[in-house]
Amino acid sequence: MRGVHDVGGRDGLGPIPVNDEDAEPFHSDWEARIYGIYRAMAAKGIVNEHEMRSAVERIDPDRYLEATYYGRWVDAIELLIEEKGLALGDS
């Protein structure tokens, strides 16, 4: 069964802009920060690429659909931090 993240090959989602010369890597500072947090964690061997991608696929489906690209990264890193016991959740 296909998960909510598995959108490849689905129709009706509109065009994907490619070769956009004016595209900025980040839309706001927090996006750059979460990217940096992931890179730092990866550099220290705390997480790897496969764990990160798997975590993005395991966030709540409703949240996955409404979140931006880096919004999913925030959720995924929070999930990994809790799963690895690096910090406690605030629930």
């Binding site: 069964m1 296909r2 998960g3 993240h5 598995d6 490849g8 090959g9 790897n48 496969h50 764990e51 991608r53 798997s54 696929e57």
Partner: protein, 92 residues
Amino acid sequence: METHDIRIGSHVSVTPPNWTEHSRTPGYVGDRTGAVLDDYGTHPLPSSVVSGEPVDERLFSVRFDARDLFGDGDHSVHVDLYESALEVAHER
């Protein structure tokens, strides 16, 4: 599974991914048949890395006709797929 028979030129069919595993197999190639274009050697299977016990598996580039995947199109689509997702397909 007859995975040991997979080589460049083999016709292979794809086991549909289970979304709860991080397989990196896109759903749109599930149950479709393509031809092996390239052999990348062995790489750690992503789901095994996630589970903490990495296992190396052969990784292949597989070419599909877009028409077979999406119903139309004259181009081909190349997807990198691990050995455990593939079975040698019977000749069509």
